[in-house]
C-alpha cells in the first residue's frame, strides 16, 4: 500500500514539521499553525463520518461539549484536564450514542439525519447559553489560570509546546483516518452508504457499524474542542459550538477534499488563511466578510468541484486509480465505445 518513496516523503515532511518551531519562532505564525493543526484535527474527525455519507451538522455540539465540560470541571471541581478531557469525551460519546442509536436503528438517513444533528448542535448551544450562571452564557468562559503545576493543568505559555501538542494530536487524527481507511469497517460503511438494504443483506450490521464510526468521530471532535479550549484559554458558545461551527467543518472538509486523508487539513489551511488574510486586510470592517466568502465558495465548490481541491488534484495526477463510487459519479456509463 505504502511504497518506500511515499514513506520517505512522509518521514521527511514530519521531520520538517517537528523541526519547524525550533528554527522559525515568529509567535504569530506559530499561533496560526497551531490553530490550523487543531482545526485540521476537528475537520478530519468530521470527515471520518462525512466520507461515508453520514453528514452530521451536530459536530459543533460535540466540540462544544469537549471544550465546556473540560473547562467547567477544572474551574468548579478542580479536576485536571487530564481527567477532564476523557470525561468530556465520554460525555460527547454518550450524547452521540443517545442521538445516533435511534437514528440508525430506525433508518433515519439523508435529510432526516442532517436535520436531527443540526438540531442537536443548536440545542447544545442553547444549553450552554441557558446555564449562563455556570458557563458565562454567550459572553464566553475562561478556565482559571493554574497556580501550581503547569503540566497538570495542561496550560503552557510558550507556543512551541502547543505547536508540538497540536502536531501530535493532528498526527493521531491522520493515523486514525488511515486505520479506518484500511479496516473492514470502511468497506462495510461504503456498502452502507450506497445501499443500506443490500449491505444488510450481505451481512453487515448497519446500526453497529454506523454507531462505531459516529462514536469515534464524536470522541475525536470532543478532544479537538478540549485542546482548543486549553490552547485559547477562552471559549464562547459561538466559537466552539452551534450550527456555524458545524457548517464550518463541513465547508473545510469539502473544500479540501472529503475522500483523501489530507483533504480536511488542506481545507483548514485554506479557510484559516483566508479568514486571517481578510481580518488583516480589512481589520474590523471584515466582520462577516470571511463568512460571506466562505458561503459563496461552499456553494460554488459543491456545484462545480464536489471532490474538493485536493481530491480533484489527486484525481488529475492519478487518473483511473479506482472506480469512483456511485455517489461520486455524475453519470454511470454502461458501455464505452472504442475502449
Amino acid at each position: 500500500m505504502m511504497g518506500p518513496g511515499r514513506l520517505a516523503a512522509w518521514g521527511i515532511g514530519l521531520a520538517a514539521l517537528v523541526a519547524l518551531p525550533f528554527v522559525y519562532r515568529d509567535p504569530y505564525h506559530l499561533h496560526i499553525l497551531v490553530l490550523i493543526l487543531i482545526w485540521s484535527f476537528a475537520y478530519t474527525s468530521w470527515s471520518m463520518m462525512g466520507r461515508f455519507g453520514l453528514v452530521s451538522l451536530g459536530h459543533g455540539g460535540f466540540m462544544g461539549i469537549g471544550a465546556y465540560v473540560t473547562a467547567l470541571l477544572w474551574n468548579h471541581l478542580g479536576w485536571s484536564p487530564w481527567i477532564g478531557i476523557p470525561v468530556s469525551m465520554v460525555a460527547a460519546g454518550a450524547l452521540a450514542l443517545i442521538v445516533g442509536y435511534p437514528c440508525f436503528r430506525f433508518r433515519i438517513t439523508g435529510h432526516y439525519f442532517v436535520l436531527v444533528t443540526l438540531a442537536l448542535s443548536g440545542i447544545v448551544l442553547q444549553v450552554i447559553t441557558a446555564t449562563r450562571d455556570y458557563t458565562g452564557g454567550s459572553l464566553g468562559y475562561t478556565p482559571n489560570r493554574a497556580s501550581g503545576n503547569k503540566l497538570l493543568a495542561l496550560q503552557f505559555d510558550d507556543k512551541i509546546t502547543w505547536y508540538l501538542i497540536a502536531l501530535g494530536v493532528w498526527l493521531f487524527g491522520i493515523a486514525v483516518w488511515h486505520w479506518v481507511d484500511r479496516s473492514m469497517a470502511r468497506y462495510a460503511l461504503e456498502a452502507i452508504s450506497e445501499d443500506e438494504d443490500a449491505a444488510a443483506a450481505a451481512g453487515v450490521d448497519v446500526t453497529a457499524e454506523k454507531l462505531k464510526i459516529t462514536l469515534l468521530s464524536a470522541l475525536m471532535t470532543a478532544l479537538a474542542g478540549a485542546i482548543y479550549c486549553q490552547y485559547q484559554m477562552f471559549i464562547t458558545p459561538d466559537t466552539v459550538s452551534g450550527i456555524a461551527v458545524s457548517l464550518q467543518m463541513v465547508f473545510a472538509a469539502i473544500v479540501g477534499g472529503l475522500f483523501v486523508s489530507l483533504g480536511p487539513t488542506f481545507g483548514a489551511v485554506i479557510t484559516i488563511l483566508l479568514a486571517e488574510t481578510l481580518r488583516i486586510g480589512f481589520g474590523t470592517k471584515a466582520v462577516g466578510w470571511d463568512n460571506l466568502v466562505y458561503g459563496v465558495l461552499l456553494v460554488l465548490f459543491i456545484i462545480f468541484l464536489p471532490k474538493g481541491i485536493l481530491g480533484s488534484l489527486l484525481d488529475r495526477l492519478k487518473p483511473q486509480r479506482k472506480v469512483p463510487r456511485a455517489h461520486e459519479q455524475e453519470a454511470v456509463q454502461i458501455a464505452r465505445p472504442g475502449t
Binding site: L115, A244, V250, L298, V299
Partner: protein, 293 residues
C-alpha cells in the same frame, strides 16, 4: 395557598394560549419547508435566514421609507418569494441530479452567505419596528395583539395555500409531482416551472412569517438561529413532507416551549422540546402521523 393556586392556574392558561398563538407561526414555517421538501425533495437549511432577510426588508421599508405596515407586508412577501425562486434557480437547479446531501450542504452555504450579508450590510445591532401593539387583557390574562394577529394571519396563509393546492391546476400539478416526480414529466407537466413556482410559494410563506415575526421580535443577522433549528425539529417530528403532521407537531412544540418557559428560562423550553423530540424518535421515528410498517 388558595390564592397561590389561582394565580398559578391563570399563568398556566396564559402560557397554554400563548403556546397556541406561537404555534401558528411555527406551523407556517413548517408548512413552507415541508412544501419544498415534499415537491422538490430538497431541504433548505437556510429557510430561517430567508425569514431574517424578510424581517430586515420589513424593518427598512417601515422604518426608513415610512411605508405603512400593510403595504410593506405584501412587498416583503413578494421579495422573499423572488428570493426563494432565485435560490432554486441558482443553487438547487444545477444540483438536482447530485446526491441529496450536496443540495442540502449548498443551502448551508447560502445560510452563511445570507447571515454574513446581513452582518456586512446591516451590522449586528438589534433592530425593531418600533410598532408596539396594545396588550389584550382578558380577565387576568394578558395576550399581545401581535401574537393574536400573527396567529390569525398564519391561519389565513395556510388556508390560502391549501385552497391553491387543491383548487387550481398548478396546485394539483404540484401535489402530483410530490407523489411521483418521474411520471409527471411524461404527463406533460413542465417540472422546471412547477419547481420554480413551488420555491416561490415556499419563499412567500417565509416572507409572510417574516412580516409576522418582526412584530414580536427584534431583528439581527443571527435571528434565524433562534427559530431555525426548532422548525427543522418540527418538520422531522411531523414527518418531512407531511403537511398535517408538521401542523400538529408545530403546536406540540410551541406548547412545550411555552410551558417550559413558564417554569424556567425560555432556553430551557427549547431544551425540553429537544428531549421530547429524542423520545419521540424512539417511539415514532418516521413522524407523528406515519403509518406503522
Amino acid at each position: 395557598m388558595q390564592a397561590f393556586l389561582d394565580i398559578f392556574d391563570i399563568y398556566l392558561l396564559e402560557a397554554v394560549i400563548n403556546g397556541i398563538l406561537l404555534g401558528g407561526v411555527l406551523a407556517l414555517l413548517a408548512l413552507g419547508l415541508n412544501l419544498i421538501f415534499g415537491v422538490i425533495d430538497v431541504t433548505w437549511i437556510c429557510y430561517a435566514e430567508l425569514v431574517m432577510i424578510g424581517m430586515y426588508a420589513m424593518y427598512f421599508m417601515v422604518q426608513y421609507y415610512g411605508i405603512s405596515y400593510f403595504l410593506a407586508a405584501p412587498l416583503t412577501i413578494l421579495l422573499v418569494a423572488v428570493l426563494g425562486a432565485a435560490l432554486h434557480y441558482l443553487v438547487i437547479a444545477p444540483l438536482l441530479t447530485a446526491p441529496p446531501i450536496n443540495q442540502l450542504l449548498a443551502t448551508g452555504g447560502v445560510l452563511f452567505v445570507l447571515q454574513s450579508f446581513a452582518t456586512v450590510a446591516f451590522g449586528i445591532d438589534f433592530r425593531n419596528l418600533g410598532i408596539r401593539l396594545p396588550v389584550l387583557a382578558f380577565g387576568d390574562m394578558h395576550f399581545s395583539y401581535a401574537r393574536l394577529l400573527s396567529f390569525l394571519a398564519a391561519l389565513v396563509g395556510m388556508v390560502a395555500v391549501y385552497l391553491f393546492m387543491t383548487r387550481t391546476f398548478t396546485g394539483t400539478a404540484i401535489r402530483a409531482i410530490s407523489q411521483d416526480r418521474q411520471i409527471m414529466a411524461l404527463m406533460g407537466v413542465d417540472t422546471k416551472r412547477i419547481y420554480l413556482i413551488t420555491s416561490a410559494i415556499g419563499g412567500g410563506l417565509a416572507g409572510l412569517a417574516a412580516c409576522l415575526l418582526v412584530l414580536q421580535y427584534d431583528v439581527h443577522p443571527f435571528v434565524g438561529l433562534s427559530f431555525g433549528p426548532i422548525t427543522f425539529l418540527i418538520c422531522v417530528l411531523g414527518g418531512l413532507g407531511n403537511f398535517i403532521g408538521g401542523f400538529i407537531a408545530a403546536f406540540v412544540f410551541a406548547e412545550i416551549i411555552s410551558l417550559g418557559g413558564l417554569f424556567s428560562d425560555l432556553e430551557w423550553g427549547y431544551v425540553l422540546a429537544f428531549g421530547f423530540f429524542i423520545v419521540m424518535m424512539f417511539i415514532r421515528p418516521a413522524g407523528l402521523l406515519a403509518r406503522r410498517r
